[in-house]
C-alpha cells in the first residue's frame, strides 16, 4: 500500500497491526481525536494527491457518516479506510452488537463501497486485496472501506 501518512484510532483486536505501522520511521503517524475529522484530513491529503490511510474501529464509521457522504462521496474524493470489525461471537462488549451487526447494511444503504475481510479469505491474500481496494478508491474517485476481522485463533 505504501502510504505516506497513517491516521489512527486504535482497536485492541488490531493492536499488532497498529504497532506495525507506528514503528515505521518512514511513515507520518497521527492520532485522531475522532473519526469524522480523520475522513476530512484524508480528504484534504487526497486532493493534494498524497497517499494516506486511516485505521479505526468500525464503530467510528457511524461518527463519520455525514462527512463520508456529503464530502468524500459528493465531492468524488478518493480515500481508503481500514476498519476493524466489532460484534459477532467473539465480541466482549455487550452493547456494540446493535451497531455492528447492521453496519454492512447501513454502509450499503449510504452508498459507501465496502468489503469484509475475515477468515473466509486466506490471510496470505489480504495484502493484495487491501492494495486492490485502495487502488479502487482512486480509480473510482470515492471512499472505500475495508472491514477487517482480526480476531483469529
Amino acid at each position: 500500500m505504501s502510504p505516506e501518512f497513517f491516521f489512527y484510532l486504535p482497536c485492541g483486536s488490531g493492536r499488532a497491526v497498529f504497532e506495525h505501522f507506528l514503528a515505521k520511521s518512514s511513515l507520518v503517524c497521527i492520532p485522531l481525536a475522532q473519526e469524522e475529522e480523520g475522513v476530512a484530513i484524508l480528504g484534504g491529503l487526497s486532493l493534494a494527491k498524497r497517499r494516506a490511510v486511516m485505521m479505526i474501529q468500525d464503530t467510528g464509521l457511524g461518527n463519520a457518516m455525514t462527512v463520508l457522504t456529503t464530502f468524500a462521496r459528493a465531492y468524488h474524493v478518493p480515500l481508503f479506510i481500514v476498519a476493524t470489525r466489532t460484534g459477532g461471537g467473539r465480541e466482549i462488549n455487550s452493547a456494540v452488537h446493535e451497531y455492528s451487526d447492521r453496519l454492512p447494511q447501513v454502509l450499503t444503504a449510504a452508498g459507501l463501497h465496502h468489503e469484509i475481510l475475515d477468515a473466509r479469505l486466506p490471510v496470505s491474500r489480504w495484502a493484495q486485496r487491501l492494495a486492490d481496494l485502495q487502488r479502487y478508491a482512486h480509480v473510482s474517485h470515492q471512499p472505500v472501506i475495508a472491514l477487517v476481522d482480526l480476531r483469529w485463533d
Binding site: I30, A33, Q34, E37, A40, G44, A48, V67, T70
Partner: protein, 193 residues
C-alpha cells in the same frame, strides 16, 4: 453575553481575506460563509464545503499537510464547535502553513441567529489551550492587523475574530455539483504547484 454588538460584518472580513489569499488554498465552511465568499468573488482556489459542518478545519489540515502551501480555513463559531476536537489534532500536528480564521458572532446565523456556546465560551482560549497561537480581533482594524500578522507568521495561527450577526442580503445559494468544485479546485492546485 448573547449576540455580539459589533458592526464588523462577515462580508467585510471575507473581503479582506479575499485580498490576501489569491495564491493560497482557501477552505470555506458551509452556508452563509461559503455563499458570501463566492459573492465577494469566486476563484478556483476556493474549496467550498457545502455541507459536512465541522469538517473545514480538518480538510484544511490535510491540504496544508499535503501541499506545504499556505492554507486558509474560514470557519464560524458554530462549525468550529461542531468539530472542536480537530483543534486538538491541529495542536498536535502544528502544520506550519495552516491559518484558521474563526468568524465568531456567537450564533448560528445561517439558521436565524440562534445562540451558540461561543456566546459564553472563549474559542480563542480553547485554541490556545490546545497549543495553537491565537491572534484576536474585535473590529475591522484589528482583523486586518491580525490577518496581516498571520500572513507574515511562521507556523500555525488561528485568528479569532469577533464579528456582528449581520449577513449580506440576497446572497445566492451555491448549488454547483460538488464534484465540479473538486474538479476546478484540483485543476487550480495542479496548475499552480
Amino acid at each position: 453575553m448573547g449576540l455580539t454588538p459589533n458592526r464588523f460584518t462577515r462580508m467585510a472580513a471575507l473581503g479582506h481575506l479575499w485580498k490576501v489569499s489569491h495564491d493560497d488554498i482557501v477552505v470555506a465552511t458551509c452556508a452563509l460563509t461559503s455563499r458570501e465568499l463566492a459573492a465577494v468573488g469566486h476563484r478556483p482556489n476556493h474549496l467550498y464545503v457545502l455541507n459536512a459542518m465541522g469538517s473545514a478545519v480538518p480538510i484544511g489540515l490535510g491540504l496544508a499537510l499535503g501541499t506545504g502551501r499556505r492554507t486558509w480555513v474560514i470557519e464560524g463559531d458554530g462549525g468550529l464547535l461542531m468539530g472542536l476536537n480537530a483543534l486538538a489534532t491541529v495542536g498536535y500536528v502544528q502544520p506550519p502553513e495552516l491559518r484558521i480564521v474563526v468568524l465568531d458572532n456567537g450564533a448560528f446565523c445561517s439558521t436565524g441567529c440562534q445562540e451558540t456556546a461561543a456566546a459564553r465560551v472563549d474559542l480563542g482560549a480553547c485554541a490556545e489551550g490546545l497549543g495553537i497561537p491565537v491572534l484576536r480581533s474585535d473590529d475591522e482594524e484589528g482583523f486586518v492587523r491580525a490577518v496581516d500578522e498571520a500572513v507574515r507568521a511562521e507556523g500555525t495561527r488561528l485568528v479569532h475574530a469577533r464579528i456582528g450577526a449581520e449577513s449580506a442580503p440576497d446572497v445566492a445559494y451555491l448549488q454547483a455539483d460538488p464534484a465540479a468544485i473538486t474538479h476546478d479546485f484540483v485543476r487550480w492546485l495542479d496548475a499552480s504547484t
